[in-house]
Amino acid sequence: MGIQQIIESLNAELLRTDLPVLSIGDTISVHNKIVEGDKERTQVFTGVLISHAGRGVTEMITVRKLVDEVGVERTFPVCSPRVEKVEVVRRGDSRRAKLYYLRERKGKSRRIRDRRRGLKHVAKA
């Protein structure tokens, strides 16, 4: 076995297979477990997926939403056991890999089109 295969075989047990296929521009809700004192509860963070970085166990996704007209971004490690599940609320259409331009947008121009292209492919996956 090569070096990379050995490391990936270690990672294999941590990889998530229960998550839907996510693409940039999608509106998603991340169910995140948080610990408050000795209690644990699930917090749902819903927003636009604006960036994803890394692959395998190091994959991170950034989700942006608006709270009282103030932008809030959170970055989640996809493979963390704290991320309970991820749901796709809406498929968005994006031509870019990173939607950082949304930070400067306001009002109507902040919207993202519904995805029409390539939906067949997503349904299959």
Partner: protein, 229 residues
């Protein structure tokens, strides 16, 4: 004395604890090592265990090495290293014995020794963490320079010349480095892997030496005493 094994650094990845904390780990392929010689007080004047690690092609090896290793009943090894031990500890080892990562079971902390990555000729800011010279206030073309390297009388004694050991620019890296008190995150006996928390010196595929910790940092010694993992 600390128990030592030789291994190969494979690279880094991360693991998650059940609570969801991400732990950066270095994967080390540790062993199997063969005891190729036992140094005794009568014969050598000191007591130590010599280990052989890594296969070497017979065509790439030399006849003295092949004969030396065949005395332990094994094929020629690429690396040979010794670790000191007392005469009582030496009695536990036998010539030709195979040591694996399993022997590290029950250990919480290890020291890892390796050869750091070579950085080439580097300036004082990168090599010795100097602060450099002011960005403004009239500074021109010497923002990363060491500044003054000696005064008229300071550090000098009699006669000109710099104090020995003055830190200057020069070759950095590619030297023996030991990282102490690393946490063992996991031991994978089947694959012969050791996962330690944090980085270790050198690049992937490089030989590293792993030993049980000799001097623990205070906080880690406390954890060991408390028996918490």
């Amino acid at each position: 004395m600390p128990f030592t094994l030789l291994g190969t650094k494979l690279g880094m990845t991360r693991v998650y604890t059940p609570k969801g904390v991400s732990v950066p780990v270095t994967v080390i392929q540790l062993g199997p090592c063969v005891v190729t010689q036992l140094r005794t007080m009568e014969k050598d004047g000191y007591t130590a265990v010599q280990l052989g690690f890594g296969e070497a092609k017979p065509s790439r090896s030399t006849i003295p090495v092949m004969v030396h290793d065949s005395k332990a009943g094994t094929t020629p090894k690429r690396y040979h290293r010794e670790f000191r031990c007392t005469a009582e500890e030496l009695a536990k080892f036998t010539l030709g014995q195979t040591l694996t990562v399993k022997d590290f079971e029950g250990t919480m902390f290890v020291d890892v020794t390796g050869t750091s990555k070579g950085k080439g000729f580097q300036g004082v800011m990168k090599r010795h963490n100097f602060k450099g010279v002011c960005a403004s206030h009239g500074t021109e073309r010497k923002h990363r320079s060491p500044g003054s390297i000696g005064g008229l009388c300071s550090n000098r004694g009699f006669g000109g010349g710099l104090k020995k050991g003055k830190r200057m620019a020069g070759h950095m890296g590619d030297e023996r480095v030991t990282i102490r008190s690393l946490d063992i995150v996991r031991i994978d006996e089947g694959k012969g892997l050791l996962l330690v928390k944090g980085p270790v010196p050198g690049g992937a595929r490089q030989m590293v030496m792993v030993r049980t910790s000799t001097r623990l940092y205070k906080s880690k010694a406390k954890r060991l005493a408390g028996g918490k993992k």
